[in-house]
């Protein structure tokens, strides 16, 4: 079995609620109670107005590929034998952009386009551990 991917490490106060929610397969994001800004990556404060009053939401998991790259060479032990794999920024319909992988395709260099619609797919990392949000063609 390939070595584990780099995992989120805790304690890390800003992102811990996000990762806890992945154990329930919930992709979460925040909005500011004062100025309605969508906050992502997760933080305790609003990046637009500085308020510490915000609300967590669960995303529907639908969005589009903003951009991507197909990694042909990685020396990281978890990825080096994976073959070509796609890393992307996906823009969720709720207005936040996440780094992720695009999966469920044959050839990542030809089967992914910027703007392509995608939907959420979870990849569990181990018993009761966090799950990684990934995306596949919608």
């Amino acid at each position: 079995m390939a070595p584990l991917r780099p995992q989120p490490a805790f304690p890390e106060n800003d992102t811990q609620p996000f990762w806890d929610a992945t154990k329930k397969h919930e992709l979460t994001y925040q909005t500011c109670d004062r100025c309605n800004e969508v906050i992502f990556y997760p933080r305790r404060h609003c990046t637009s107005c500085g308020s510490d009053q915000n609300t967590w939401h669960v995303s529907q998991g639908l969005g589009s590929v903003y951009t991507f790259s197909v990694i042909m060479q990685s020396r990281h032990p978890a990825f080096k034998d994976l073959g070509a794999y796609a890393v992307a920024y996906v823009d969720l319909d709720e207005g936040f952009r996440i780094m992720t992988n695009i999966v469920g395709i044959q050839d990542p260099t030809t089967d992914i386009q910027c703007g392509m619609r995608v939907k959420l797919r979870w990849e569990d990392q181990g018993d009761g551990e966090v799950s990684l949000p990934m995306f596949e063609p919608a």
Partner: protein
């Protein structure tokens, strides 16, 4: 508006070797380069009264570097924003000199990245160190440094129709300049480049894809190296051994992944105009553009974001030999051979200042005729996520 004449680059030294083995350390490269730059300027070790340093080399930190050199500076600045740190340093030194706080500022860099066998572009996240939100939200998906820049190239192609051939034109011009620079030729030879010769657009497109859509010949080398730059007050500059190269404008900015943000626009879109306004010159007047060429896409973004052409029109701008040192169209680009083909030990920004200085002194191996104005624009961090862009505008005496 008269150009500023209050601070100038008066001494430079580019450490000549790109493969140093175990004979010399990063800190020793810095000290050796400082001594040579002082010799170039005609000043003494004890004249240095300001130290600018990233604190990154061999990890002794900003606190340790003055002790290592043996200086007692009145100005200590440890701005550390990756490869663009050195443009930030030069700009900061100019302002401190203008304010009368110091007279001779030393900026140094040393790295043994190649000899340490650091896989900078392809290593991926290594997992050491304290947790933070960026690592937690980025590392699990396996993005490499090269992949980060490739994502910007991909979006640039999608958004503006820029072609691989156009990106390759940057590599071709840069290699042509490298082949005229004996130190770059030795660098490529020592680093065992396949084919130390001029290259064509087809050569670039035929080279293997490291992270789609970036080809190997669109990526910088990983060398050893370093060097030193001295920035002096006008009064000292007038007593320097060589003609001063004046710092007439500067701008600094940072940019990062934002919801709905445009990844093709770098921090240079903020810092470039600030620098040009400070200098009182326009991009069309610039003879030499020393643009941080970690990858072709970095240069494309710098050209557009600093205003050499409209955003998205960089592909057409770089074609037809425009960037060559002997092309009548301005600007000539990376006339030392760049990070692509001459020198990139991990943080290239200091070399941009050096080659700009050589050009404005008339000392380049690809000398632009009658060179009067140059821009050094460093891009540090990673273009597709968080990065900093520092621009320094320089004028011949």
């Amino acid at each position: 508006m008269p150009q500023d004449r209050t601070a100038a680059i008066v001494g430079i030294h580019e450490y000549p070797l790109r493969v140093v083995g175990s004979d010399i350390s990063a800190l020793q490269i810095k000290a050796a380069s400082a001594a040579k730059a002082l010799e170039d300027a005609g000043f003494a070790w004890k004249d240095v009264d300001a130290v600018y340093d990233t604190g990154s080399d061999q990890g002794i930190g900003g606190l340790g570097i003055s002790e290592y050199f043996g200086f007692k500076p009145s100005i200590i600045d440890n701005t550390s924003v990756g490869g663009s740190s050195f443009e930030f340093h030069a700009n900061h030194a100019r302002r401190m000199i203008e304010a009368g706080k110091c007279n001779l500022a030393l900026i140094t860099y040393g790295s043994t990245s190649h000899s340490d066998r650091r896989a900078i572009g392809t290593a991926g996240a290594t997992g050491g160190g304290p947790s933070n939100l960026f690592r937690n939200m980025e590392d699990p998906w396996g993005l490499t440094l090269i992949g980060n820049y490739a994502m910007v190239k991909m979006r640039h192609k999608f958004q503006y129709g820029t072609t691989d051939e156009q990106f390759a034109a940057i590599s071709v011009a840069t290699r042509r300049h490298a082949m005229r620079n004996p130190e770059a030729v030795k660098a490529m030879t020592d680093l065992e480049f396949v084919g130390v010769n001029e290259i064509s657009v087809a050569d670039v497109l035929d080279s293997r894809t490291v992270a789609y859509p970036l080809h190997l010949l669109e990526c910088c080398m990983v060398s050893d190296g370093g060097g030193a730059v001295l920035v002096a007050s006008a009064e000292m500059a007038r007593n320097a051994r060589k003609k001063p190269v004046w710092i007439i404008g500067g701008g600094e900015a940072t940019k990062y992944r934002e919801n709905g943000g445009d990844i093709t626009v770098s921090a240079g879109a903020q810092s470039g105009p600030v620098a040009f306004q400070d200098a009182g010159v326009s991009p069309s007047e610039i003879d030499i553009l020393m643009a941080y060429d970690s990858f072709t896409i970095t240069v494309m973004c710098m050209i557009e974001d600093l205003g050499f052409c409209q955003k998205g029109e960089g592909g057409a701008f770089v074609s037809d030999g425009r960037l060559d040192y002997d092309n009548p169209g301005k600007p000539a680009i990376n006339t030392d051979g760049g990070g692509l083909s001459s020198n990139h030990p991990g943080a290239r920004g200091i070399f941009l200042l050096m080659e700009a200085t050589r050009q404005l002194r008339g000392e380049s191996t690809s000398q632009v005729a009658n060179a009067k104005l140059a821009v050094a624009v460093g891009n540090g961090g990673q273009l597709g996520s968080r990065h900093a862009t520092g621009a320094t505008i320089l004028a011949a005496d």
